[in-house]
């Protein structure tokens, strides 16, 4: 029982990380119908830049963990804007799905390779900002960092939702995602909104990177599999629903830790794909997604 509970706890923490990344996919999908296939790499870069700031590897420590977070998010935003500028904007102009998929992947490959050359190919440990000593909840061990991950992830998503609903800039984002042409005619610079959504999406990913880094190892390859799982989450929950991302993330996170423990760690990637195919077969728009009516 305690083991099960323990697995549930780590599944939830993992799932919330997936949810934040999936949320990032949704942000750009809403404004432009495109996704950053290098979202995992944005997370990885965030974690590694954070590591350089708080640890000794590049002459530091320069900052403590909490002060580092805003800097990393700014870095993430710039990186996201760069991806949009190089990889996405030209393809939106030519309406080429192949174009943005291939160029965001190409950029992801470049980022990963550059990171390997700067930070090396080996995984590094990220100093934990809080005590790593677990405490007991109903007999199961929980790390404070896991709780922080959940809180941080929820706070991030809530902040973005609030921004979209309350601020005038947020309304521009919502308007663009509803109808880009009409929003453009109303004087909204939709190009800038799309750039902004990419910046926000990568900033979220970078934030997720520094959240998850103390719990796992940090390295150039850490992002790929996280980004991929978040794809599954985004499809399971629906590409248009924030709640869907959270629920999808929790389902996948828990499924994975359970599979990893009860079946084999080698197979823990499998339920994600199975769930993905199952959801697409049964409810293609995702558990919480709305099927769009295409107008002719």
């Amino acid at each position: 029982m305690e083991i099960l509970l323990q697995l549930l706890f780590s599944g939830v923490a993992l799932g919330m990380i997936y949810a934040v990344i999936a949320f990032g996919y949704q942000l750009t999908f809403a404004t432009s119908g495109t996704l950053n296939f290098g979202q995992g790499e944005a997370l990885m870069l965030g974690a590694l830049v954070g590591l350089s700031l708080v640890s000794t590897i590049h002459g530091g420590p320069w900052l403590n963990y909490w002060l580092m977070i805003p800097l990393v998010m700014i870095f993430g935003a710039l990186q996201g804007a760069l991806v949009e500028w190089i990889g996405v904007r030209p393809s939106i102009k030519t309406k080429s799905e192949f174009g943005w998929i291939m160029s965001t992947i190409a950029l992801a490959i470049i980022f990963k390779n550059v990171a390997e050359n700067i930070w090396g190919k080996d995984d590094l440990t990220f100093p934990s900002p809080v005590s790593a000593k677990p405490f007991q909840v109903f007999g199961a061990n929980v790390q404070l960092m896991q709780v922080l991950v959940v809180i941080g992830a929820v706070a991030m998503m809530l902040a973005v939702e609030l921004f979209n609903r309350k601020s005038i800039y947020g309304k521009a984002v919502v308007a663009t995602s509803n109808d880009p042409d009409a929003a453009g005619l109303m004087g909204i610079n939709t190009g800038r909104v799309i750039t902004f959504s990419y910046a926000l999406s990568s900033a979220t990913a970078a934030f997720a990177g520094v959240l998850v880094a103390p719990l796992t190892l940090t390295g150039a390859t850490m992002g790929t599999s996280l980004g991929l799982k978040a794809f599954a989450v985004a499809i399971i929950g629906g590409l248009t629903s924030g709640i869907g991302a959270v629920v999808g993330g929790l389902i996948l996170g828990v499924c994975e830790t359970l599979t990893g423990f009860y079946i084999s760690t080698g197979y823990k990637e499998v339920p994600g794909l199975l769930l993905l195919l199952l959801v697409l077969a049964v409810k293609p728009a995702g558990l919480f997604g709305k099927a769009a009516i295409k107008k002719v």
């Binding site: 296939f37 799905e97 160029s103 992947i105 950029l107 499998v270 993905l276």
Partner: protein, 655 residues
């Protein structure tokens, strides 16, 4: 022309046959073998990427499944027969392709890319984990196979691969030239129109992916025998990107493109491992880039801004190459930049670029009309008359259709009865719900409530392609032709339903397929004569003037042998003489027993030819009477001109 083509084929086969004998060096023979194997896979990938326009990021995994199927059949099951293993690889990989494509292609958007990406990762993990089948990271050793009891030598196996590559080349070319290939191309040009021609976009996308997977399986199987050893790490994400790069770099929608692309990506790793060679190539590319850009600028074809980024990037690459000490570490970065460059500046690939340049000097001539096309008989346009059904009564019955978009009721409890053999006008001011009605009748929208009966059967909930095959054809208000296909091909897509041939018939050009293809071409020629586009049969549809495009849409719809034809503003944008012609055509269509629903804003057209006219306003039916009565109906006048006008008209009528 034909002779030259055959000469090319013979030269190609001779080259393949003589290559090992002339070269003799096993290393180069193996390299060439790999190129041919990749080419087989790329032919298939091109069907998905080039034709249907979907992106697959799982082809390395499919390639791996093909490899491991052959490996497992040989190593675990002890099947020594190479042809059995080839067949097994194709079938197993195609089955995996279906497993992926069936759910992933149900929705439009980047889903296939996402699902195949996940699949690629999982397959690699599973190959590593399922040691009882795959031996995990240890890999499987497979010797060169025997064919009919004779163990193939290095040379002979090359010929075996070459023969299969030629077979794959012929098969893929035949598939793409058949009705299947036309469907693949049509669904990319206009998915909606494709569905409404009875060619289910979903089904044909899945077909395309499964065929593509089968070819990946074949390639994988040959790869196993070629390498004689397989291990999981070969089939990684990098390989998938390499395949995609090869297809776009070579040139989409061609066979020579994948061959060239395979040649490039197979030699690429060795190019990227020698720093001196790379520096030479980067410098060469920079010089070429500057010269090309200079030429373009001098001829004022491009502005300085257009060429700035590519020129800066090739120069940057050259400079970068001299700073590098260790190229291996930066291999992937270079690879990434190459991908970006190809995606943006070489979209049509090398083959496409060369072709485009050549056409500038010698514009492509349209193939002349064949004698049978020029002399086709318009009476062939019509399908042999079906069994004479009841000649009277309602062909279509729509009951209390409610179509709600959020809070807006685009159609509010509208009834429609369309009598067999009638021309039924449907008019109303803009936004009154006419086109929504069309979309409900053809299955593009599912009505919120209400029923539609066609020939006594309910069609609500059927897919657009099912409804089209049941006998309802349509044209579109905003023209939806298959722009990159010729006029004849557009009509042939409409005639898709006349084909019963399957993949086997197409690949082997069986008698059934040849008969069907001939019959379809003759009918297409007949239809083009009927709508007066016979002279333009080989022109690309997007090059037609607007009015002709509208006529072509009617022709394409006639190919479907409809019993009900829905025309959505066919006269929009037509000149006065064109309109007279159009009226004549619609009358003739009716005379051939096809019932017509006509949406039109040209009142003279509607009033001249309609037997009965339904008027919609704000989603409500406000009148349904003979044309003469509609014209005098105060409610109709009010809808069009406002209430004051209605009073005036009424007063005038009374006076």
């Amino acid at each position: 022309m034909r002779n030259r083509k055959w000469g090319l084929y013979v030269a190609g086969i001779a080259l393949l046959a003589l290559f090992p004998v002339v070269v003799g060096n096993p290393y180069y023979i193996h390299l060439a073998e790999t190129i041919l194997i990749y080419a087989i896979l790329l032919f298939g990938l091109d069907i998905v990427v080039g034709y249907t326009g979907e992106v697959s990021l799982g082809h390395a995994a499919l390639f791996g499944i093909g490899s491991y199927t052959a490996g497992i059949f040989f190593f675990k099951l002890g099947v020594p027969l190479v042809l059995v293993n080839v067949a097994a690889s194709i079938v197993v990989t195609a089955a995996f392709g279906a497993l992926l494509a069936l759910p992933a292609l149900r929705v439009t958007g980047p889903y296939l890319a996402m699902v195949t990406l996940a699949f690629g990762t999982i397959v690699q993990i599973l190959i590593n984990e399922m040691t009882f089948l795959t031996e995990g990271p240890l890999g499987i050793k497979v010797p060169k196979p025997s064919l009919f009891g004779h163990k193939l030598s290095e040379f002979e196996f090359f010929w075996f691969v070459a023969a299969l590559m030629v077979i794959a080349l012929v098969a893929v070319t035949r598939i793409l030239r058949s009705h299947l290939g036309r469907a693949f191309q049509a669904l990319r040009d206009s998915p909606v129109a494709c569905d409404c021609m009875g060619v289910s976009v979903y089904r044909y996308k899945v077909y395309a992916f499964v065929i593509s997977a089968g070819l990946a399986g074949l390639a994988g199987c040959l790869y196993t025998y070629s390498e004689e050893y397989i291990s999981p790490n070969t089939y990684n994400f990098e390989l998938t990107i390499l395949f995609l790069l090869a297809v776009i770099m070579g040139g989409r929608k061609t066979r020579s493109g994948p061959l060239l692309g395979a040649l490039i990506v197979v030699t690429l790793p060795s190019l990227l491992s020698d720093i001196h060679l790379f520096r030479g190539i980067a410098t060469g590319a920079a010089i070429l880039g500057v010269v090309l850009a200079g030429a373009l600028l001098a001829r004022k074809q491009k502005t300085a801004r257009d060429v700035a980024i590519p020129v800066a990037s090739v120069i940057g690459m050259a400079v970068f190459s001299y700073f590098l000490e260790n190229i291996v570490d930066w291999r992937l970065t270079i690879f990434g930049f190459m991908t970006l460059f190809v995606v943006y500046y070489l979209q049509d690939g090398i083959v496409g670029y060369i072709r485009g340049t050549l056409e500038k000097f010698r514009p492509r001539q349209l193939a002349p009309l064949a004698a049978w096309e020029a002399n086709a008989d318009a009476s062939r346009a019509w399908a042999p008359p079906a069994k004479a059904g009841e000649a009277t009564g309602n062909l279509l019955k729509a009951d209390a259709i409610l179509m709600q978009f959020g809070g807006l009721k685009a159609l509010n409890e509208v009834d429609l009865r369309v009598a067999r053999g009638a021309i039924h006008g449907l008019i109303g001011p803009n936004g009154s719900g006419k086109s929504t009605m069309m979309n409900v009748l053809t299955g593009i929208y599912q009505p919120t409530r209400g029923g539609v009966m066609f020939e006594g059967k309910s069609i609500v909930g059927n897919t657009p392609s099912e409804i089209a095959l049941a006998g309802i054809a349509r044209t579109f208000q905003n023209v939806q032709l298959f722009g990159e296909m010729t006029v004849t091909e557009n009509v042939l897509v409409g005639l898709h339903h006349t084909f019963k041939s399957n993949l086997f018939d197409v690949v082997f050009h069986t008698r059934r397929y040849r008969d069907e293809e001939r019959a379809a071409h003759q009918r297409a020629a007949g239809i083009l004569h009927f709508i007066g586009l016979a002279d333009l049969a080989h022109e690309e549809a997007r090059n037609l003037p607007y009015g002709k495009q509208r006529l072509l849409e009617i022709g394409r719809a006639l190919g479907l042998d409809p019993r009900l034809l829905l025309l959505d503003e066919p006269a929009a944008g037509l000149t006065a003489p064109d309109i007279t012609e159009l009226i004549e055509i619609i009358r003739k269509i009716r005379d051939h027993g096809i019932t017509v629903i006509l949406i039109e804003h040209h009142m003279d057209v509607v009033m001249t030819i309609s037997d009965i006219v339904t008027v919609l306003d704000f989603g409500q039916k406000i009148a349904e009477e003979a044309p003469a009565h509609v014209r005098a109906d105060p409610k109709v006048i009010e809808a069009y001109l406002g209430s004051g006008a209605a009073d005036a008209a009424h007063g005038a009528a009374a006076a």
